[in-house]
Subunit: 249 residues, 2 copies
Amino acid sequence: MDPIDTLVRRLRSIGTLAAEDEAALRTLPLRLLDLKKGETIVADGAVAKNCCLVVEGYAHRTKTLANGNRQIFSLHMAGDIPDLHSLQLRRMDHELAALSRCRVAYIPHGAIKDVLAESPALTDLLWRETLIDAAAFRAWMLMLGQADAPTRMAHLFCELFVRARMAQLTDGSRFELPLTQTDIADVLGISLVHANRTLQDLRSSGLIGFDQQFASILRWQELKELGQFDVSYLHYLDDEADRPVQQKS
Amino acid sequence: MDPIDTLVRRLRSIGTLAAEDEAALRTLPLRLLDLKKGETIVADGAVAKNCCLVVEGYAHRTKTLANGNRQIFSLHMAGDIPDLHSLQLRRMDHELAALSRCRVAYIPHGAIKDVLAESPALTDLLWRETLIDAAAFRAWMLMLGQADAPTRMAHLFCELFVRARMAQLTDGSRFELPLTQTDIADVLGISLVHANRTLQDLRSSGLIGFDQQFASILRWQELKELGQFDVSYLHYLDDEADRPVQQKS
DNA sequence: CGTTCAATTGACTATCGTCAACTGGCGTGG
DNA sequence: CCACGCCAGTTGACGATAGTCAATTGAACG
């Protein structure tokens, strides 16, 4: 899969990308890198000189408290640029790392700025992308502050499924999700033991299937209700994001 | 106080603002409005046509879950534009409202876009402002997911104090903070009763003073440690943000 | 002077965290 | 080839942080 294709698909799902802007993106110099699970992409406190486009697999952003507690802020799949903000905030206030084995493309800030200088429309679109990132943080703040563990977990699966589907990474109701239960616990802000028990509840009530590498949405409507999930915060252009899920027969 | 003065001060604290860009900002048409406590500024789901600059008092962003639980995402003081993101994300995914009696200035999107079209530097600066907003969300996600109530509360007072000081809204270690304990609870993601007890602990241990309208930082160093507060996520340009607090004698 | 809102307190409950032990799979190295 | 260690998942028992319910006080306001 061509790296820029994934980016173009992502941008087209949230806004209008003119042909000449797509052409400009395709001139960007890329440095491809394959990463192992857990490898740091950009360290907390580092001064970034590149942005990092996820091409395959998953990346995540994380911050660790003095007592060792870790919070995962976001998960990123093909087409995402998790550190796009570093264009304007050079010094990282958190860490970006590979969640699974993954492939990323480094793009120098200078090259991106050159392209943006020529296109206000593309500037708007990338700005919009960073704002959708922020909107997702708000959605997660709402979960972390106000929802119990089952709701949070259902919400997580809802968000990841919709994003994967919009990025054409799903096969029906099934998609790759290389998360350990420890990772899930750190996203949801609950303990590993509690994450394990909550996951078992979701599985046994037939809402989702999940084993290490793959997740399946078994009852979309019920999962959405449990997770209090409203897709609008992801700010996709069209209604495709909210269409029902066809189950495998 | 001139509305644009507060905005200029805010922008100068996080980046470089050229004289001609400041001049351009001063040409923006403003519609001033005085709001009562609790009044909605922009409703959840609304399509925004203006941005809203806080001139006096406090505004806040909030979202309510189906079960009635409310999470406050952020508090905003003079110089902030809490809905700057609406430039690129027209439809609100949360509500903006007055936290206390406050004065705001509406600025039409069109006027801002006209100014930004002439100045890439100002575009970068406002983009940066929205990204600092997102960075604050991450800091709060970390608290909501990983910290206990006393830590969260200490962190809240740390952040509000530093921002108020940078906005020149403090008098020594004292600043206006028109928050009810219900508001605090909704920021911290804890119950009102628990917020009340945690606040009493902070007061009786001598770290802060707080009564309805005003907060005082009594032991800055200890408060920072309890709140695990590291100012860097606010991305101020200079070190002033991290200087010690002089107590009143 | 009554009503409402904010703060406070006590008592009880429950969700969730911690500690600890056990299982199974997988890869590596002797 | 098998033993060992490591990692991920699972389970039980217990404790603690935090939520809920309920009642009281005091201040502000009309």
